[in-house]
Symmetry: C2
Subunit: 105 residues, 2 copies
DNA sequence: CATAATCATAAGCCATAGCTTATAATAAGT
DNA sequence: ACTTATTATAAGCTATGGCTTATGATTATG
C-alpha cells in the first residue's frame, strides 16, 4: 500500500492551499470559497476535485449548495508517510554514525 | 515565520521524490544519482537545487564529487506544519460538534 | 601539462497545470 | 412554470516546469 503522494501534490498549489485552509477553518460552500478567493468559481470547483481525490476534503449537499469539509484521512496518510520517512532517515543516520564512529574518540 | 511549503512543492515531483528517497537511503554523489535514474545529469542537478532550497538535502564536496545527504530540517518543518494543521483541524471539529451538540440526545 | 571525470548553469523545447468563458444540470423561491 | 442561485464540466488559452543538449569550471590522474 504505497503512498501515492496525492495529498502532497494537491497541497503544492497555492490556490489549493488557500482553499484547503479555508475549509479547515470551517466547512464552506463552493460559492463562499469562490467569493473569498481571487479566482473564478469553476477554478475553485476544479481545485476541490483534486483535494477530494486526495481525500483532504469531503462534500455534503445542502440544498443547492455543496458544502465542503475537512477529511482527516489525507492528512493522516501524509503524516504516516512522513513518520515512516523520518524513521528511515534516522536509521540511515544511525548507520552512518556507527560506520564513521569506529575510529572515533 | 509562516511556512513556505518549499518542501511540499519539492516533493510534488516524482523524479525529485526518487532522488530524495535515494539520498535518504544513503548519501550519494550526483553522478551516482544520475546513473540510478532515467534522466540526464543536468536534470538531477536541477532537482537537487530545488531540494536543497527546500532544505531537504545538504551537500558536501568530496574531491571532484558533490555528495548529497539528507537534511532533516525540511522534513521537520513539514512535520511542524502538519501538526499545526492537525491541531487546527481538531479544534474546528470540536467547535463544530459543540455547536451541533446543543440539541442532542 | 594534458586528459578524463564530475558537476552546475544556460538556452531552448514541449507537455502539462491552472485559469478563463460558456454551458448544462439541479434546487430554491415567486 | 419561470426566474434565480449554485455547481460541475467542457473547451481553449497561456505560463510554467521539467527535460534535453551544449558548455564552462573544477578536480583528479597520467
Amino acid at each position: 500500500m504505497a503512498y501515492d503522494y496525492a495529498a502532497m501534490i494537491a497541497l503544492a498549489d497555492p490556490t489549493r492551499r488557500a482553499i484547503f485552509e479555508l475549509v479547515v477553518e470551517q466547512p464552506r460552500s463552493v460559492s463562499e470559497l469562490a467569493r473569498a478567493l481571487p479566482v473564478s468559481q469553476p477554478a475553485v470547483s476544479q481545485h476541490l476535485k483534486v483535494l477530494r481525490c486526495a481525500r483532504l476534503v469531503g462534500m455534503e449537499r445542502r440544498g443547492a449548495s455543496n458544502v465542503y469539509h475537512l477529511d482527516p484521512y489525507g492528512l493522516a496518510q501524509m503524516r504516516a508517510w512522513l513518520d515512516g520517512m523520518w524513521a528511515g532517515a534516522f536509521d540511515s543516520f544511525k548507520a552512518e554514525v556507527e560506520k564513521d564512529g569506529k575510529g572515533g574518540t
